[in-house]
Amino acid sequence: MLQTVFSPRNNGDLFADMRRMQSAMNQLFEGTRTAGQSATFPPVNFWASQDSIVMTTELPGLTEQDIELTVKDTMLQLRGTYPEPENGDDITWHRHERVDGTFLRTVELPFRVNPDHIDARFENGVLTVDMQRPEGDKPKRIAIKSA
């Protein structure tokens, strides 16, 4: 029998085929990135507790003024511009590994956050954003009565 990606005898999981195709597509486009640099910049880490979420990202060389952070519903947007590298006629470059230019990244949060209770700090090149779930959206514990 001809082997195809969409094998009909595949335990009946339609979505497995879709996932496989998606990962095949991702691999296909992987090569278009420049080596050593990921397509999504800056990389972010997330921490979560019951009612809040913390995002951290490393942006060395920027200042608080260079970073623009906006949050709407579950979308967080991070925008920034790195300062121009030093230039001049007398400068000879030997190595240029550090990032420069402009970036824009949109991240989807696992839940809606209260835009009035966002605490963003920038320290030693690391941005930490602390976001709270709005009061009305918090899961409520319901007491179960016995009959």
Partner: protein
């Protein structure tokens, strides 16, 4: 001019040496190196390191840049996703003779170390005579 001393097989990571109980990995910080008419400047990205935890040592011709990261995981939270790893930084360069080692300046701001290595005024081109065998 500064010449890199160690070449890592893995581009971004070096195994942490020393301290076995520090589980954090050691990273090679990205650097910019350029030269102007007075000095060689090295910029190294070390996000997450406090200014006091940056350690620059110069022994003979070997310049070592180290940064110790304070773990930034918030208390009482569980990690949801990680796109980057956190760890200490280390990178080693050899410097050429013509650097005035007494006048090296170091500054640390926003996670970036800036080292200025002024050229020594005394640095004279040396002539080496080659003897025939």
């Amino acid at each position: 001019m500064a010449q890199e001393l160690t070449t890592q097989a893995a581009r971004d990571m070096a195994a942490a040496n020393g301290d076995a109980n520090r589980r954090a990995m050691a990273f090679t910080p990205a650097v910019d190196i350029f030269e102007n008419d007075k000095a060689t400047v090295i910029l190294a990205d070390m996000p997450g390191v406090a200014a006091d935890d940056v350690d620059v040592t110069l022994e003979r011709q070997v310049l070592t840049l180290r940064g110790k990261v304070t773990p930034d995981a918030p208390q009482g939270y569980r990690q949801l996703s990680a796109e980057y790893q956190v760890g200490d930084y280390i990178r080693v360069f050899t410097l050429s003779d013509d650097i005035d080692q007494a006048k090296i300046k170091a500054a640390f701001k926003n996670g970036v170390l800036r080292l200025e290595l002024p050229r020594s005024p005394k640095a004279q081109p040396r002539k080496i005579s080659v003897k025939s065998a």
